[in-house]
Symmetry: C2
Subunit: 430 residues, 2 copies
């Protein structure tokens, strides 16, 4: 294991790493999203596309579009072309239920997806990858399913329309009792086990075994294929297809039977791009449209903008379960501010808005464009103080969290059952 850590560090020195299992910027700085677009080969979501969305949906673009939170896409224009011609599409997003409490970063794709559903009046499938978390986080099947249901309540609280939305747990929807046992078994078999099993049945020479073992170690140490190593179990490699298949309408016969050619649009954070690059490569080979993507940047941690927020440090994020007092404390104590050391210096030099977390957060959640522009000028020039920006941010976030909490309190188990029932959605396009 130690050697592998070294190998990873070498990679980090070379370049930023963004994939579903690791997000780290070069030299601990900021993620370079322009470079990411180049490397991944996706497209920038430019202003003309945003204007087109407003025109087609007859409503202002969501704040996450206007502010560039969702900043990249793949074939989103094809979706809009089809929509303009009266053709339908559906939305697919998901969540890996690894923890009970969600933070604001977790809510971003759902807030945005809710806007897309309302604006385009389209059906939505939400995948809860309880199987993934059972395999990666070493949760029991039961615990990951419990977390999936808890997370479903937070998702439902975002305001999705039950007549257009199907939420499913992989464990329940993919294959019931049988699939649960499959995953349990897979979790017990490592690649090294597989290699040993092969040697037992062929009886290769000692030298050959040793060479193979070290070649395998080398491969896994360097590449850490799709997030796993030789010590990892074989279940993990079966997961990418599970995340891929909701992109294909025939996976949901109760929703899209007879509508097998309908297009799919996936709102997600850009770290999920490797899964969907694979999916898009595969799609035409098995007779489907490539799913379109609309991809967000990462919501920064309170401590600053290098990487994602971390569940292991509760002070790195605002949780939807935080009280007003906790929100105020976290913002005041932990939100990385670019304000100068003294009021005098701040008045003279102003804030560095490129790295200032309170201002960045306002950019995500303050809907009023005029007020944000005013803050940009006033705070950037030093006329507005960090304390004032933090106070305004506290108000904005407290309001969002309070509204979420009230909505979630109204989500009953029966509502979860209703969203998760395997059923047709008769009016999903109205």
């Amino acid at each position: 294991m130690e050697k592998r850590e070294e190998a990873k560090e070498v990679v980090e020195e070379e370049e930023q790493v963004v994939n579903p299992w690791e997000v780290s910027a070069k030299d601990g700085g900021k993620i370079d999203y322009d470079k990411l677009i180049d490397k991944f080969g996706c497209q920038r979501l430019d202003d003309s596309l945003i204007q087109r969305v407003q025109r087609l949906t007859n409503r202002p673009a969501h704040v996450f579009l206007r502010r560039g939170v969702f900043f990249a896409h793949r074939d989103f224009n094809d979706i809009l072309d089809a929509y303009e011609k009266g053709q339908k599409f559906y939305l697919y997003t998901g969540r890996g239920p690894s923890s009970e409490a969600l933070h604001l970063g977790h809510l971003i794709p759902f807030m945005f997806t809710k806007y897309l559903q309302d604006a385009f009046k389209v059906p939505l499938v939400i995948q809860l990858t309880d199987d993934e978390k059972c395999m990666w986080k070493n949760l029991s099947v039961e615990e990951s399913q419990r977390l999936a249901r808890e997370n479903a309540k937070d998702i439902i609280a975002c305001g999705f329309d039950v007549s257009k939305t199907f939420i499913f747990s992989d464990f329940d929807y993919v294959g019931g009792a049988f699939y649960k046992n499959m995953v349990k078994v897979a979790k017990c078999v490592t690649y090294n086990n597989v290699i040993s099993a092969y040697f037992t049945s062929t009886g290769a020479s000692y030298v050959k075994r040793l060479l193979t073992y070290y070649a395998m170690r080398f491969v896994f140490q360097v590449v850490g294929i799709f997030g796993f190593t030789g010590e990892d179990h074989i279940g993990k490699v079966s997961f990418p297809p599970v995340q891929a298949v909701p992109s294909f309408p025939s996976s949901f016969p109760h929703l899209f039977s007879g509508n097998d050619n309908i297009r799919c649009l996936i709102p997600c954070a850009i770290d999920q791009d490797p899964y969907f690059r694979m999916t898009r490569d595969v799609a035409p080979r098995i007779g489907y449209h490539k799913p379109a993507l609309i991809e967000s940047s990462f919501f920064p941690a309170l401590q600053g903008e290098n990487g994602k927020m971390s569940a292991s440090d509760p002070n790195s994020a605002i949780y939807v379960t935080d009280s007003a007092k906790e929100i105020k404390n976290k913002i005041n104590r932990y939100a990385f501010s670019s304000g100068q050391d003294s009021i005098e210096l701040h008045r003279k030099y102003g804030a560095n808005l490129e790295v200032d977390i309170p201002f960045k957060y306002l950019g995500f959640f303050l809907d009023d464009d005029a007020e944000l522009e005013l803050s940009r000028e006033e705070y950037g020039s030093g006329r507005m103080l960090t304390g004032e920006v933090k106070k305004r941010l506290t108000e904005v976030l407290t309001d969002i969290v309070e509204r979420h909490r009230r909505a979630r309190a109204l989500v009953t188990d029966e509502m979860v059952d209703a969203f998760m029932a395997v059923r047709p959605l008769p009016n999903m396009f109205n």
Copy 2:
């Protein structure tokens, strides 16, 4: 690919290879089953165990037991201990539906399983691994499911009791439309794709890519892990758990709900042992009994006893679809006989019963012990001629094939549906 062939040949020179994807004896000779038992670590099915089966079931042991066709086991004595105490068990066997017509070798596990079901009065689950064949043989999902149903008819024709037997297709039972798409996706992604995808998101140096690529090639060329190489798709590694899970009663909630601790006995050919070694390693870690195994040797090809029969050479086997005339021709023309070059020499030296295929086949299918012993003496000493043995074998096999054909003609689609219905089996232990 060429290099890999070489690597395989080296392994063959070293030792015999027996696994689900390859069976080959050392230097093209016979499989050494004693060595196999040692290497795999299973136990020989000895005479005292056979006597015990007769005593417990109150009926003569099946010809495949008496003649050592089923010659090895794992924990079969534990099954008998439990049975003696009045505890229940269930049987699990299966078939990979890769071809429409079955040959006699395919029927052997089913004939034996039918005997076990009747003798012990126990339920049986039969897995049709249409997903496996779709992945390995590059069949479409639809074609492999069609073959599964056709094969189910042959299996049902062996006389299984519908009130105690559940036959299932992996594609239908594991997860419906969703799982079918999963397998389709998995079939499109090779390990090499996965490595490339990883490099795209990390940007490793050219030298590192090259080294990794060659290390990977080396690993796959040498070990061909669980039957696949770097050029193979990732779906294949998800299959071993699929073959493992019918060993666990909770995989079948409609059969064994509340009976989660019931034991499982698996009759199979010994080439399946690697799957079930893995399964047995895993079982206690996820709270189940290790499944017991009762394992057969291979039914030899007409041309001689080195390896299995081959679907690509129709003259290597007797098919259940062969006419009486075809059976007679195949036995007379292709069955490898150890008789001497002339009648005179044969009378003098006798037949070599160790390699004589007509006599071996009689050993599998001639139920009358006294007649077989007589043939052994007469043919081995040279008093009986090859032509006479072949004539008797033709009678025996024609009878078996004719009976199978008549039984299969009576199997309707409704009967297949009945066996494959997901349902409880209320009287499965009576």
